[in-house]
Amino acid sequence: MQLQLQYFLLLAAALFCVGIYGLITSRNAVRVLMSIELMLNAVNLNLMGFSNFLDSQAIKGQVFTVFVITVAAAEAAVGLAIVLAIYRNRDTVDMEAFNLLKW
C-alpha cells in the first residue's frame, strides 16, 4: 500500500476533529489547553504532509511546522499561566464555573 497525501490529510482532519470535540466538551481548563495542542498538532501534520508531497525541494512546510511548534509552546505557557491566575482567584479549573460574563 502506497502511502498517499490524502491519508495524511484525513488523519490530520480526524485529529483536528478530536481536538475540537475536546475543546468544546471538556470541563477541565487544562484539558481544553491539551485539546488545543491536539489541533495544533493536526495542523502540523498537514503542513508536514503537504511539504513532503508537494514541496519536497524547498520544504517550506517544515519551516512552518518549526514555527508552529515554537509558538504553540509559548501559547501553552501563557495559557497555563492564565489558568493558574484564574485558579488562584476562584479555586477551580471547571470551565462551567467561568460563566460570569453573560448577558
Partner: protein, 619 residues
C-alpha cells in the same frame, strides 16, 4: 340720495358686521369697569342705519327692473366663484324686513336683558345673524347661500348656547347645531351635484336652465331631495324639528329673531331653487308630504305643550310646513308673501309672551292665569299677533293664506283642506295659550304681575301697529284680490276654520267652569303630542344609537386592532431581544462552538457547487 343708497345696497350687511366687531370691547373681560350696555346701543345704531339704508334703497328700486351686480371672489382653474347680488324690490324689501325686525328685537333685548352681563356676546351674535340674513337675501348664488346658511348654523349654536352654564342650554345648542348641520351637508351634496349639470350656481341662470332642462328623472329627484334637505333642517320640518324645541332654551330676544326670520332663511333658499325642484315630481310630492305632515303634526303638538315658548315654537314649524306646501305647489310669490306676514306676526307673538315671561318667571302655562286686566299691552300684542298669523280677515295672514288656498283649491283640493285644518288647529292653539295666560283665575305665580317697562313695550306696540297696517300695505302694493273676481268659497272657509278653532278653544279655555288642566279622554295620545311624538327617543334609538355604536366599534378597532398591530411589532422586537440575549451564555466553549458552526456553515455554503458536483459524479 336714494339712488346712491341703492347703488351701495351691498353695504347693508356691513353695518351689522361693523356693529358686531364694535361690541366686542364691552365683553366683561375687556372693559371691566363700566358695564356692557354701550354694546347694545352701538348695535342699535348700526342696525338702525342698515334699516334706513335699505328703506331708502327700497324707494329707489320700487317699480324698477331687478338687476345684478357681481363681486369677484375667487377664480381658480375652471371654477369662477363670483358673488352675484340681486337687487330687486323683493330682495331689498327683505333686507328692510330683516333689519326692521332686528331693530325691534334689539330694543326689546335692551329691556329684557336688563339684569344680564352678557350684552356684548348677545348683541354681537344678533348682529352676526342680521348680517348673515341680509347677505343671504341679497346674494343670488346657491353656493354662497349655502356658505351663509352654514355661518348661520354656527351663529345658532353660539346664540342658543348663550347661557352655557345651564345644562339644557348646552344640549339644546348641540342638537340645534348638529340637526341643522346634517341638513346643510345634504344641501352641499345637492349644490355640488348641480354644478356639473348646469355649470352655474346663479339662481337666475338656474331658473333659465330649469325652464328648458331635460334630465334623467332619477337624477332630478335625487338632486331635488338633497336641495330640500337643507331648508328641511333650517325650517325645523319633520323629522328635523327637535332642535327648534330645544333652541327655546336660548335668550328670548334671540328667539324673536329665530322664530320670525332665521327659520325663514331656509324657506328663502327653497323659494329660490324652486325652478330646479319643479323638475322632479318626486321632490315636489316630498315637499307636500313633509310640509303637510309638519303642519298638522307640529300644530297638534303645540296644542299639547305646557311651556309657553314651546307652544309657539311648534307653530313656527307648522307655518314653515305651509310655506313648503306653497313652494311645492309652485307658488313662490305666495310663499314669500306668507313668510312676510308670518314673520311680522310671529315676532309680535314671541314678544308678547316674552313680556309675560320676563316678570312672571315661570314659563309653565298651567301656572299662568288672569293676566288680562293687568297686562293689556302684552295681551293686545298677543291678540294682534295671533290674528295676524292665522287666516282671519282683514289682517295680513288671511290674504297670503287666501292666495295659497285659492290656487291649491284648483290644483290640490286635499292639500287645501289640510291647510284649512292646520289653520283651525293653530287658531285653537293660540286661543288656548291666550286663555291659559290671560284669562281665567289668577294663580300664585301671576298674583303680582306689573306691565313691562318701555323698552319692551315700545317694539311690541310698534309691531302691533305694523301688523294692523299690513292689509293697507297690501292694498297699496295691489296684492289684494279684486272683489269682482274673487271666489267667495275660499275666504269663507278660511274664516270659518279660524272661527271654529277660536270657538272650540274659547269654550274650553276662556271658560272658567271647564276643568283645568284639560284631560284628553285617552292619556297616551295626549302624552304622545305633549312629548313631541317622542322624537328625542326616536333620535336616540335610531340615528344616535347607530352612530354611537359605529363610533364605539371604530374606536375599539382603532384602539385594539390598528394600535395593537403596531404595538405588536414593538413587543416582538423587545421580546426577541430579551430572548436572544441568552446566546451570550458567558461560556467560552460555547462561543468557540458558535465560531466553528459559523465557519463550517460558510464553508459548506461557499463550496456547495463543488460538493453537489461531487455528489452527482459519485452517483
Amino acid at each position: 340720495m336714494s339712488e346712491f343708497l341703492l347703488q351701495t345696497i351691498w353695504m347693508v350687511p356691513l353695518y351689522p358686521l361693523a356693529g358686531m366687531i364694535l361690541t366686542i370691547p364691552w365683553s366683561p373681560g375687556m372693559i371691566r369697569r363700566t358695564g356692557p350696555r354701550p354694546s347694545g346701543y352701538v348695535n342699535l345704531i348700526t342696525t338702525f342705519f342698515a334699516f334706513l339704508h335699505g328703506l331708502f334703497a327700497l324707494t329707489a328700486i320700487w317699480n324698477q327692473a331687478p338687476y345684478q351686480i357681481f363681486i369677484p371672489w375667487l377664480q381658480v382653474a375652471n371654477l369662477d366663484l363670483t358673488l352675484p347680488l340681486e337687487i330687486s324690490t323683493v330682495t331689498v324689501g327683505a333686507t328692510v324686513v330683516i333689519t326692521g325686525l332686528n331693530v325691534l328685537a334689539q330694543i326689546f333685548a335692551v329691556g329684557y336683558l336688563e339684569m344680564d352681563w352678557g350684552w356684548a356676546r348677545l348683541f354681537a351674535l344678533m348682529a352676526f345673524f342680521e348680517a348673515g340674513m341680509c347677505s343671504l337675501v341679497l346674494c343670488n348664488s346657491l353656493f354662497f347661500s349655502y356658505a351663509i346658511l352654514e355661518l348661520l348654523t354656527l351663529g345658532t349654536y353660539l346664540l342658543v348656547g348663550f347661557w352655557f352654564n345651564q345644562s339644557l342650554v348646552v344640549t339644546g345648542a348641540r342638537d340645534a347645531f348638529l340637526t341643522k348641520r346634517v341638513g346643510d351637508l345634504f344641501l352641499l351634496m345637492g349644490v355640488l351635484g348641480l354644478y356639473p349639470i348646469t355649470q352655474t350656481w346663479n339662481f337666475t341662470d338656474l331658473a333659465e336652465w330649469a325652464s328648458t332642462a331635460q334630465i334623467d328623472p332619477k337624477l332630478a329627484a335625487l338632486l331635488g331631495l338633497a336641495l330640500i334637505a337643507g331648508p328641511l333642517g333650517k325650517c325645523a320640518q319633520f323629522p328635523f324639528h327637535l332642535w327648534l324645541d330645544e333652541a327655546m332654551e336660548g335668550p328670548l330676544p334671540a328667539s324673536i329673531l329665530r322664530n320670525a326670520v332665521v327659520v325663514a332663511t331656509g324657506a328663502w333658499v327653497l323659494v329660490k331653487i324652486q325652478p330646479v325642484l319643479s323638475l322632479s315630481p318626486v321632490s315636489e310630492s316630498a315637499m307636500f308630504i313633509v310640509g303637510g305632515a309638519t303642519a298638522i303634526g307640529a300644530s297638534l303638538i303645540s296644542v299639547a305643550q305646557i311651556d309657553i315658548k314651546r307652544a309657539l315654537s311648534y307653530l313656527v314649524s307648522a307655518y314653515m310646513g305651509i310655506v313648503f306646501i306653497a313652494v311645492a305647489a309652485e307658488q313662490t310669490q305666495t310663499a314669500l308673501l306668507l313668510t312676510f306676514t308670518y314673520s311680522l306676526s310671529m315676532a309680535l307673538l314671541v314678544m308678547g309672551i316674552g313680556g309675560v315671561v320676563w316678570n312672571n318667571t315661570t314659563q309653565d302655562l298651567t301656572q299662568y292665569g288672569g293676566l288680562w286686566s293687568r297686562r293689556p299691552v302684552s295681551a293686545f300684542a298677543f291678540i294682534i299677533g295671533g290674528m295676524g298669523l292665522i287666516a282671519l280677515p282683514p289682517l295680513g295672514g288671511f290674504w297670503s293664506m287666501q292666495k295659497l288656498v285659492e290656487q291649491l283649491w284648483i290644483s290640490n283640493p286635499s292639500i287645501a283642506v289640510l291647510v284649512l285644518i292646520v289653520n283651525g288647529i293653530v287658531a285653537f292653539s293660540l286661543t288656548r295659550t291666550f286663555g291659559l295666560v290671560f284669562a281665567g283665575q289668577v294663580k300664585p305665580m301671576t298674583y303680582r304681575s306689573p306691565e313691562i317697562h318701555w323698552p319692551m313695550a315700545l317694539p311690541m306696540m310698534f309691531l302691533s301697529g305694523l301688523n294692523l297696517h299690513v292689509p293697507l300695505l297690501f292694498l297699496q302694493w295691489q296684492l289684494l284680490p279684486s272683489l269682482e273676481t274673487v271666489n267667495l268659497t275660499v275666504p269663507l272657509s278660511l274664516a270659518v276654520s279660524s272661527l271654529v278653532g277660536f270657538a272650540l278653544s274659547g269654550v274650553i279655555y276662556l271658560n272658567n267652569n271647564w276643568q283645568k288642566p284639560v284631560q284628553l279622554g285617552w292619556k297616551p295620545l295626549q302624552d304622545f303630542f305633549a312629548y313631541d311624538l317622542y322624537t328625542p327617543t326616536l333620535y336616540k334609538v335610531s340615528i344616535v344609537f347607530v352612530v354611537d355604536l359605529i363610533s364605539r366599534v371604530m374606536y375599539a378597532i382603532d384602539r385594539y386592532l390598528v394600535d395593537g398591530l403596531v404595538n405588536l411589532t414593538g413587543i416582538v422586537t423587545v421580546f426577541s431581544g430579551q430572548t436572544l440575549k441568552y446566546n451570550v451564555s458567558g461560556k467560552g466553549q460555547f462561543y468557540i462552538l458558535s465560531i466553528l458552526l459559523g465557519i463550517s456553515f460558510l464553508v459548506i455554503l461557499v463550496s456547495w457547487p463543488f460538493l453537489s458536483q461531487l455528489l452527482i459524479v459519485s452517483k
